[in-house]
Structure formats: C-alpha cells, structure tokens
Subunit: 197 residues, 2 copies
C-alpha cells in the first residue's frame, strides 16, 4: 500500500525514504540525524546524498506522498452516487485503514510538517486546508439532507481527523483489539454521534 512497492522495483531511494519515515516518527524530524539514518540504511552519511538532495527533501516527499493519496481518494468519493452519510463513513474508514497500513508516513506528515521549508510549507498548508473544506462540505450536505445532526461542520472535521490520529497510541501497543474491531468502534463513536436520530 502507498509508496511501498514490490521487491522487484523498490529503489535505493525508496528504502531511504521508508527508513526515514520510521526514524522521523520515532525521534521527531529535528532530533533525527542523517548519520542515524545512514546507519539504519547501512551506508556512510555522505552516501545518502547520492540519492537525495537534503534532509528536508525526505520530509517533502513523505508529506506530499500522503497528501496526494488522500486528495485522490477524496476525488473518488465525491463522485460516488451514495448518501452523504455513506460518503462520510467511507472517508473515515479510509483514514482509519490508512493510519493502520502506512502508519509511519501518515504520522510524520501529520506531526512534523511544520519543519518543511517554503514553498513546500505553504503549499502543504493550502492542500490541507482545501481537503478539510471538502470534508466539511460533505458533512454540511448531510446536515442539509437531515442525515446528519446539526453541528458545526469544520469542528466535526477536526474532531474526526484527530480522533483517527489517536490510533497512533493503539498502534504502538498492538494489543487486544484488532484492526477491524477498532474500525467498527470508531465508526460507532464518531458516526454514531453525528447520525440524526
């Protein structure tokens, strides 16, 4: 899923990006050093620069890779002929599954984007803002059609997105509850609270 490819065409650069995502997640972007990353990849620090331009490029790739994936899914769902509540459910499930499958990348793009430098920084901020607007529009449509309770849609979006990122703590301690069970619980709590009646 995501950027991870089959063993045949996985490039050295892809490996570096993947390991970087894991390292950035664990230590935070600033605290992670290129020497550590090089160690993990199995080369000297200087050798990394034959594949990438800079530490920041790694963050750029991770962040935009994730952003593009979600935007693409949003395009898809907007065009489906289903109710607003169903669109919302699909979107929420996509976020949950994405968080479980591509955890490192999603986590980094969510928490470390502030270390991007311009123009990437403002670029991503705009993309995120647009995404949340489209997300809110779906909820607003649902409210108009009385499928969803009358609440402030932008607030609902923030709550939903952050609630899903809460899976992080769960992910860290892979215990008791499995993926599907988790997904159903979240739908009950989040969508249950929004459903009208």
């Amino acid at each position: 899923m995501g950027r991870i490819k089959t063993e045949h065409n996985i490039s050295r650069k892809d490996v570096i990006i993947q390991k970087a995502a894991t390292l950035f997640k664990e230590k935070g972007f600033k605290a992670a050093s290129m020497r550590e990353l090089a160690d993990i990849v199995g080369v000297e620090a200087a050798s990394l620069y034959n594949h990438i331009k800079s530490k920041n490029e790694l963050l750029n790739i991770i962040c935009f890779d994730v952003a593009n994936r979600y935007i693409h899914k949003m395009d898809e769902i907007e065009n489906e002929k289903i109710s607003s509540l169903e669109k919302l459910s699909k979107l929420v499930r996509y976020h949950i599954v994405g968080m479980i499958n591509d955890f490192d990348e999603v986590y980094v793009s969510d928490r470390e984007w502030k270390h991007l430098d311009n123009p990437y920084l403002s670029n991503l901020q705009t993309q995120r803002r647009n995404y949340r607007k489209r997300f809110a529009a779906i909820i607003e449509e649902g409210i108009k059609k009385k499928e969803i309770k009358k609440i402030d849609a932008p607030t609902a979006v923030l709550i939903i997105l952050h609630a899903i990122s809460g899976i992080e703590s769960w992910h860290r301690s892979k215990q008791k509850i499995n993926g599907k069970e988790l997904e159903e619980n979240m739908i009950t709590i989040l969508i249950g609270g929004l459903k009208n009646k």
Copy 2:
C-alpha cells in the same frame, strides 16, 4: 488558570517557563534553541541558567505541571455522586476548557514528552497510562449501567482525548466559532456517539 499566577508573585522562573512553553509549541522542543528563548525573555542565553538547570528541566516542569492538574481533577470527579455519563461529560469539558485556557503547556506536554529523559520519561508514561485507565473505568462503569453504548472503553478514551487535542487547529485560527459553542459541539459529537439510545 494553571501555573499562571497573579502579577504579584510571578517569578522570573515562571516567566521563563511560560515563554518556553510557547516557544516549544511553535518550533518543537528540539528545534527551539536556548538562545531564542533568551531573546524572548530579554536576557543573554547564559543568564537563563541562573534560574533553571537545563533545557530539559523546562520540559519536565511543563509536562508534570499539566499531568498533575489532570490527575487532581480525576481524583475529584471520581468521588462525585453523579452518573457515569455525567462524570464523563465533566471530564471531557475539563479537557476542552483546559485546552483552550492553557493551550501552550497542554500542547507541549502532549506532543513533546518523548524528548524527556529518564527517569522523567518513564515516570510520565506511567502517569499517562494510569490516567487513561481511570478514564476508561468510568466509561466501563457507564456501559455496565447501560448509560453508555457497548464499545471498547480504552479505544473510546483514545478517541476522545485525541479529538480534544484537535482544538489546536481551531485555536490557531481563532475564527467564527467561540469557546462555548465549540464545547457544545464537541459534547454533541463525542458524548452523543456514546450515549445509549
């Protein structure tokens, strides 16, 4: 609220901590430098060390100050003679108001605690784990009394806590919606999804 004191007894150290919380929130703990903090406080970097032992001590203080406040509130609520659903509502409201009033400190203690060093790190992790367990116990009691839907309580706790930390984005763009309105929206979505029937 919180650590902020009246003008009479606010010490130099308190000022430093307060400014540090704001700086750590904006840049992240690792990216924030003591020279920057000194600039903001209005002294030379070396002078900070007359009031504090280290950069890490600042993070320790911020994190445990917040943790102690929530634990104290939990003690209080557990002993009240009200229904589980009411306990849950009170707790959620306390978190929302805390996020609004002491935003910088709460944000830092939530997102930067991984940069603590031992024994503070494992200490805080234990405290957080215990807090979440007590939180989950309230929900479980509510489920047993059929006040709350049958869901996985630890998952519900994670969702609720992270949803509330979503206020961050709202806080950043102090727009349209006011504090009270926000609080009611969150209660509707979060508690509404949990209420039985």
